[in-house]
């Protein structure tokens, strides 16, 4: 039995636990041509330097702004989508529609950005159409000030359908008899949504909202690294891309690691705290179910 655990344990060790220890370079002045024990210890100076680095502050600001915009604009979409699908009374059409909206979740970010670029880019489908009809083109993909809206639109396009699944499950668990008796008591469509559907979904909505708040430091990494060139770092730099560019590209390995570690630690605390709040509110968190 223990033998069966070896391959998995090796994977965890090599690609998770040992690299976690590698984070010590965040407290060192590390260069790739020396070994970690040889590197000079600098204590917390890397972290102090981070907050003196304008680029890092921009990354921090962008991360928080993007997370807030996504929370406000993305979060309600799967709920509304689930209500629409739930109200589709024809099983065949409902199935077809579900097949369509789940699909983008399985496409890679590279593909999603490529599709967006072909549609909305400077020489893309829509701008070609505008130009050929004598109108001005719109720089959807390269305008830094509308970038938060663009990335939120991309997230909605890719994942709103997938995010809907959990709400559909919640809707299916509301007994139909509740609706029926409400209807016979004269409650209309909107009244039923307000008094039965939304209270029935409340636990799931609260839980997901709290978890969303917990992962506020993690906005899609691939999405930003793919578009950073097009809109510029001032709009598209987030904590993860900062870590990549500072470390791998500019060679300040210790600074990159410090940014990554700071984000990881604060992020974990936020997730655990939000999970705790979910428990206190009487909801099931994410790990109570899985570690049972």
């Amino acid at each position: 039995m223990l033998v069966l655990m070896i391959p998995g344990a090796l994977c965890l060790l090599l690609f998770f636990y040992v690299p976690i220890l590698g984070n010590v370079i965040a407290f060192q002045e590390y260069y790739p041509f020396i070994t970690i024990p040889e590197a000079e210890w600098v204590g917390l100076w890397n972290f102090i330097d981070l907050f003196g680095d304008e680029q890092f502050l921009i990354a921090l600001r962008n991360t928080l702004v993007l997370a807030a915009v996504q929370l406000a604009l993305f979060f309600p979409v799967p709920i509304v989508l689930a209500l629409i699908v739930d109200s589709m009374m024809t099983p065949r059409f409902r199935k077809v529609f579900q097949s369509i909206v789940y699909l983008p979740h399985f496409l890679s970010w590279v593909l999603v950005i490529a599709l967006f670029q072909q549609m909305l880019g400077g020489a893309g489908f829509i701008n070609q159409f505008l130009a050929s009809h004598g109108m001005d083109t719109i720089p959807f993909m390269t305008n830094p000030s509308t970038f938060p809206l663009l990335v939120t639109l991309q997230v909605i396009w890719k994942d709103a359908g997938w995010g809907m699944i959990i709400f559909l499950a919640a809707l299916a668990s509301i007994p139909a008899s509740l609706y029926e008796s409400a209807a016979s008591d004269g409650a209309g469509r909107l009244q039923r949504i307000w008094h039965i559907t939304l209270p029935g979904m409340r636990p799931v909505i609260v839980l997901l909202l709290i978890l969303q708040l917990g992962s506020i430091l993690t906005v899609g990494f691939e999405q930003f690294i793919l578009q950073r060139d097009a809109v510029g770092p001032d709009a598209a730099e987030v904590l993860d891309t900062y870590s990549y560019y500072a470390g791998v590209i500019d060679g300040s390995w210790s600074m990159g690691a410090a940014a990554g570690l700071a984000k990881g630690v604060v992020g974990t605390i936020l997730i655990l705290a939000s999970n705790k709040i979910a428990h206190l509110l009487g909801e099931d968190g994410i790990y109570r179910g899985s570690s049972r």
Binding site: C11, M89, Q98, F106, L107, V110, I166, S243
Partner: protein, 326 residues
């Protein structure tokens, strides 16, 4: 549950008038719809129906049209693309010239090979690692609790990309395909789904085999795996999709263009707009650059479309959501 369609009494047909609702219902049935509206539920107002239909159509179009445009343009001729201003919705004379070019190009053909290889080998290794671990931890086992905790922790924290990069470098896996396979060979989420499936298997069966003297390997190979084909299929598909779609690990660990997977080619030539000269492609291009670009998008897209029906069959059955909730 009643599945009949009922009109409300106050809208019942008056003699001598066309029953629009009945006609509407007939048309609906004709195009394949069969409404399951419960009797107590009122028919929506026309305005609401129209609005809902428009929203549903708009969403569907926004998802399907980009893919259609890309596929169509990849099949269109140079002249047609230029005439249409870059994109073609319905090519008049579809040709596969662009695909002939990219399959003849060592650069792109090789990257497809890399992607297929990484996906195939990666999925097999990932399934092996996940199944063995999930089976071991589905039984009461020495060190089971701490191991489980160690796995769950990986869902809350990431070591960060700099230390991971240094680790890959230390393991001499930079510029090697192993760097694309091994770091993502164990996903905690997939493990949890797999383990809860194993735990739901009839334990008497496993006990009986154990009493008959079967080893753990034998029980796993001859009883557990044959009983778990469905969950293994869906987890395998999840891993395969993840391997096919992965690009960042390649961007980080692989400098050598000969080892690039298709997603990185897509990034470089479509998103960043690196021009595709005959020199880079390694073949005299006979198709328009625009349709070659679109063809690259399509070859990255098609494998996902091919496995999508299977994926959907399983996850819509609740394999995933059910297991996660439990």
């Amino acid at each position: 549950m009643s599945t009949t369609t009922a009109s409300r009494p106050d809208t019942a047909v008056r003699p001598g008038r066309l029953d629009e609702r009945a006609i509407h219902r007939r048309l609906w049935t004709l195009i394949g719809g069969r409404s399951e509206r419960p009797v107590w539920m009122e028919e929506p107002s026309p305005a609401l129906s129209v609005l809902k239909t428009l929203v549903i159509l708009a969403i569907s179009i926004s998802i399907l049209v980009p893919m259609l445009v890309v596929v169509s343009t990849s099949l269109a001729s140079d002249a047609e693309i230029r005439e249409a201003g870059g994109y073609v919705l319905f090519p008049t004379e579809p040709s596969f010239e662009a695909y002939r070019t990219i399959f003849a190009s060592p650069l792109i053909f090789r990257s497809l090979g890399v992607s297929v290889l990484v996906t195939a080998v990666g999925t097999l290794i990932a399934l092996f690692v996940t199944i063995t671990m999930a089976y071991a931890l589905s039984r009461p086992v020495l060190l089971g609790k701490p191991m489980l905790l160690a796995i769950v922790l990986t869902m809350f924290f990431s070591p960060g990309l700099i230390p991971l990069y240094l680790m890959i470098k230390e393991l001499n896996m930079l510029d090697s395909l192993w760097s694309l396979i091994l770091p993502t060979a164990f996903a905690a989420f997939n493990f949890i789904v797999m383990r809860s499936f194993f735990m739901a298997l009839p334990q008497e069966l496993l006990e009986a085999a154990r009493i008959d003297g079967a080893s753990d390997f034998r029980i796993l190979w001859q009883i557990v795996i044959p009983l778990s084909k469905a969950v293994i299929a869906v987890i395998g598909l999840f891993y395969a999709v993840a391997y096919w779609n992965a690009f960042f690990n390649a961007m980080l660990y692989v400098n050598d263009q000969e080892l690039w997977p298709i997603q990185l080619i897509l990034r470089s030539y479509v998103i960043q707009g690196t021009s595709m000269t005959a020199d880079q492609l390694g073949v005299q291009q006979t198709a328009a650059p625009q349709s070659i670009k679109m063809a690259v998008v399509v070859v990255a897209l098609v494998p996902i479309l091919l496995v999508y029906p299977f994926l959907q069959k399983y996850f819509s059955k609740g394999v995933i959501t059910g297991a996660v909730k439990g």
